[in-house]
């Protein structure tokens, strides 16, 4: 039997474009100390550390986890680094869960940090994630891979640019409630629709910023939680599904899933929901933190999570179903469209979901939130993670 595991502490730095006042070491420490304080612990209480750091090239230090580990005072304790691209923070959390649920550790620090502003254009780095033999030289990157999704959504489901824009407007509206968010200025539908095209049909305001910042969570085993913590976010279910890197495999007649959709997220969610005993997600989930770096990806996600029928996510977004006072508030934090510290982004979704079910989300608290879901996305929209957190075990 797995050891029941909960998040008992959350720490986030503010997410900003630049943090020239600190090194990546200090940034990771900043979030970790906040999480430890929130959990009422010190580093001495921690049995093991999981670091989530996405491509080293964004930081310019190979195997940068070792340098960050030094600042955290990890030695001689266990340190394990996870890098799965965009899902890195969520994969680190899943690895952290495995440390505790296996009985191998009682208190684990999961931390992720990024300073994307120190590298050149992130899209250059992300181009080097593409197949060097078949696809890199046709200029693929993380933005145009989502454009391909949007184009297929528009073709198959008649998703409109206005529906996409509604996601951006809502995210910014929510971000005003979150002091950590990078972009907090309100925007209108017209602002989004009149912003310049970056990669057709995605416009500047359909896209996330690139941010610097760090996020940390403390996970603990049930006996520790029961003895020391009045509030906890219990990890009730999780899943992950990977697909091929080749987006074209999700388009031709031989496809198993379609690049327009996130059936992989639906598979990961099915597993997480089953573990959590969720049969009717639209009713049983109170709040969602979705890793949606581009407007079109959130539409795919709300459908995959069972909040909207396939093809109807855009319309429901436009109609306000995912607003703070809607049926299922999505991204009260402002989401990834308001802050994207790449390595930490997926962990921030989990951290925000944990704060919601702990009742610690401050101005962005969804009243009475009891059960939350957090997702992650990485690679060529090929890695998907899902985690269900609840206020009871």
């Amino acid at each position: 039997m797995p050891v029941k595991t909960a998040i008992v502490g959350v720490g986030q730095t503010d997410y900003r474009f630049k943090r020239t006042d600190v090194t990546i070491q200090e940034l990771a420490v900043e979030a970790s100390l906040k999480a430890l304080e929130h959990a009422g612990m010190t580093m001495g209480d921690i049995d093991a550390i999981v670091l989530g750091i996405a491509p080293d090239a964004l930081l310019g230090i190979n195997a940068v986890d070792r340098w960050i580990g030094e600042a955290l005072g990890v030695a001689p304790r266990p340190l394990l680094r996870v890098n799965t691209g965009g899902t890195t923070g969520a994969a680190a959390a899943q690895a952290g869960y495995a440390h505790v649920a296996s009985g191998m550790a009682r208190r684990v620090l999961v931390v992720a940090a990024d300073k994307v502003s120190e590298s050149p254009d992130a899209q250059w780095v992300l181009n080097t994630a593409m197949d060097p033999i078949y696809e890199r030289s046709v200029a693929l990157n993380a933005i145009n891979m989502c454009s391909f999704q949007a184009v297929r959504q528009m073709d198959q489901y008649k998703v409109t640019e206005r529906q996409l824009a509604s996601v951006a407007v809502r995210s910014r509206k929510h971000a005003q409630l979150n002091p950590h968010a990078h972009l907090r200025a309100p925007i209108t539908l017209d602002d989004v629709l009149s912003s310049r095209y970056v990669c057709w049909p995605l416009k500047l305001l359909d896209c996330c910023p690139r941010s610097s910042g760090a996020c940390a969570v403390i996970m603990a085993a049930e006996p520790v939680v029961r003895a020391n913590h009045s509030r906890a976010a219990w990890i009730r279910g999780m899943g992950a599904t990977s697909n091929t890197i080749y987006m074209g495999d999700k388009m031709g007649p031989g496809r198993d899933v379609d690049h327009a959709d996130w059936d992989e997220l639906a598979m990961a969610a099915a597993r997480a929901y089953k573990q959590a005993g969720i049969t009717d997600p639209a009713r049983q989930i109170d709040v969602a933190e979705i890793y949606a770096p581009f407007t079109c990806t959130e539409i795919a996600a709300v459908e995959a999570l069972g909040f909207a029928k396939k093809g109807s996510g855009g319309l429901m977004s436009e109609q306000g179903m995912f607003d703070m006072n809607g049926a299922i508030p999505v991204n009260p934090s402002g989401g990834v469209l308001s802050a994207n510290p790449i390595s930490a982004t997926a962990l921030a979704r989990i951290a925000e979901a944990a704060l919601q079910v702990m009742g610690d989300a401050g101005p962005r608290q969804v009243p009475g939130a009891h059960q939350a879901v957090a997702t992650g996305i990485g690679g060529t929209l090929q890695f998907h993670t899902c985690m269900v957190l609840a206020s009871d075990a």
Binding site: W124, I133, L140, P201, M247, D249, M251
Partner: protein
């Protein structure tokens, strides 16, 4: 130790990464690129179990987890599955605007990405209507082929 109250502007140290790689393309892609370069032909590999014709060709089928053996010529015409037109300059990537599309070449089970050339991209809405999903294209082979994926590109029929 004295109290130092000067406030210094944070220092920035610059660094460069210039890592050279020699990517072995392997026997499967070697055959694909050689044929592309020498004969101007595009070929995929068929999975012996699910029968999918994989393009770009792979030495194995990820789904059935078996090696592929049989080569199948595809194209040169095909259908657009998804596209984008890039208007923003990115470091290390071509000068915009440029169009990239995933195209299922006739006879293939999967779509393959490449540039779409020969189209006026200056007005996004107009160019996007030209490049709709479902439009037919053909592969155009350049003269000075080197055995790389940009030895060809797509052009609207």
């Amino acid at each position: 130790m004295g109290q130092d109250e000067r406030v210094e502007a944070p220092l920035i140290h610059s660094g460069e990464w210039n890592i050279h790689y020699d990517y072995a393309v392997g026997e499967t892609a070697t055959r694909f690129f050689s044929r592309l370069r020498d004969e101007g032909k595009i070929a995929g590999k068929r999975c012996p179990e699910c029968k999918a014709v994989l393009l770009p060709p792979r030495a194995y089928c990820e789904r059935c987890f078996v090696k592929t053996e049989e080569w199948v010529d595809v194209g040169p015409e095909g259908t657009i599955e998804a596209f984008t037109i890039v208007y923003e300059p990115f470091d290390g990537l071509p000068q915009p605007p440029y169009a990239v599309a995933y195209v299922t070449l006739d006879g293939a089970s999967t779509a393959m990405a490449n540039f779409v050339r020969g189209l006026d991209l200056s007005v996004p809405e107009v160019a996007a209507r030209e490049l709709a999903v479902g439009k037919r294209v053909e592969a155009v082979f350049i003269d000075a082929r080197k055995g790389t994926i940009t030895d060809f590109h797509y052009r609207l029929k």
